[in-house]
Assembly symmetry: C2
Amino acid sequence: MPFSWRGAATALAVAAPCAAFALEPLPSWNDGDAKAAILSFVEEVTAEGGPAFVPPDDRIAVFDNDGTLWAEQPVYFQLLFAMDRAVELAAADPDWASTPALEAAASGDVATALGGGEEALLEIVTATHSGLTVDAFTAEVDAWVEEARHPTTGRPYTDMVYQPMLELLAYLRANDFTTYIVSGGGVDFMRAFAEDVYGIPPEQVIGSMGEARFDIIDGEPVVLKDPGIAFIDDKGGKPVAIARHIGRRPIFVGGNSDGDLAMAQWSTAGDGPRFALFVHHTDAEREWAYDRDSHIGRLDAALDEATAEGWLVVDMSKDWKQVWPK
Amino acid sequence: MPFSWRGAATALAVAAPCAAFALEPLPSWNDGDAKAAILSFVEEVTAEGGPAFVPPDDRIAVFDNDGTLWAEQPVYFQLLFAMDRAVELAAADPDWASTPALEAAASGDVATALGGGEEALLEIVTATHSGLTVDAFTAEVDAWVEEARHPTTGRPYTDMVYQPMLELLAYLRANDFTTYIVSGGGVDFMRAFAEDVYGIPPEQVIGSMGEARFDIIDGEPVVLKDPGIAFIDDKGGKPVAIARHIGRRPIFVGGNSDGDLAMAQWSTAGDGPRFALFVHHTDAEREWAYDRDSHIGRLDAALDEATAEGWLVVDMSKDWKQVWPK
């Protein structure tokens, strides 16, 4: 059995009442305003009888994935998965790369493929993410996660998660929060590793969704991933997805880009205590530095609103003692 | 605070290890094959170290709502809600009933409204279920549940739930199952009462969904219910919805009609122990008797397949000591 954050978090949760003074929470966060704000919010909403107490069932925390829980440069990791899968599919079937976009992808030409704009991307994602069952797709992602390495760091992608955010997830769960991913990434893609890497089980992963259908093939009932996009879980889609999937308004929201603004606005507009944080990528040395002008994970309107609303803007270079897991 | 099945179920779950011999499970089920089959399945999958053991995280149980957890005659209760709401909306705005179908609904003429076929129904549901926030809609359903009475029994609709099924839900949860509703009913409609009535929290209710969008209205971020249907959670839609929302294949499935056949096929096709039950409405005296020829809740192909596959067919008149809660 591989190491599981879920198991670790459960153990921590069970131990929490006794271990509150023994285990220092958020060890990879530097002491300072950011860490203090998080600790203080969680202490307030969990203080039974206190004025800000929130019952455990309503302690819903939602997190974007790309750029919030793991890195997203030079491009969303799921696109790199799609490109790698295109190479494989084209190798198995010489007729597979039937369009310029698919040809570029199949030859591993990331720049040309991504240069084709949204339409080309949609074509590549659709062609690499459909025509198989959800179970078979999960197995493909599992294999990729095992083998693929990031182009500049050489690390497995699932090692490019943020240690301070892993600690934040575990800390929230130890305080009876339910932690969800609410991300533009594909739901089946993220579920393949979310439980092992983040301790977040499949039913707490919300994402973009492709078309799908039930069928019986050779006597076997299956759910098939079809071409086409059914739902984009980004911007205004995030609060809609949360309303549909969870049916409660989160009290804690974490994001890093303008795509997370609507979910932060909607979550913090609820009654009672609310917390929003935005990860600000300020760390060109240990990770990347980008915000208002970035094509990936642009943080512009949300940076202004975070400042105006007093949401926590996490300064990666200043607030994080350590970026990656050891 | 109203009586909550969730609270009761939680208490039962907490007490379960000690109370297993003190509390007889499923008291409203007659002793016989049906009850024995359920008890035996649950004992097997929870027997640690046994050959059929299933870890708690994978103990996913899904239930249809209409005709499985509560009654559905003479017509789905949500349609009666839509009709009642049409009368209210038309009273508040004389121009509201702008089509023959809406006119019929607004004058309380259920027969004509329902006689208009699927298109008329869609018009009535859309017009009564959109143009307001999810929160406002929930409040409307809450008020209706409080006041409305069933046309023939005179009972509140939420009293027309099946006592044996409430006990089954609680029994499964006491054995570390997670219980979901997976129903053709609207997700926002069902969530308004599912926690109080069934002990099933909003995030474990899966249903049909209308179009929705995020907006900021007078400075207030909201999720608005729009006209139009985004997803029909029936037949082949059910396994798709389960795959999307839960991301695990259930090991226990309960339904009552052909609309539940695909979800039973897909769930029971998974590896390891699986259980499917269909409620057969055989009790004209205490409830209703209908199956192959019914317009509502037709049980035809699924009855044949249940027999062929050895799924449990619950004979309501024979297997249930009591139908309604006292």
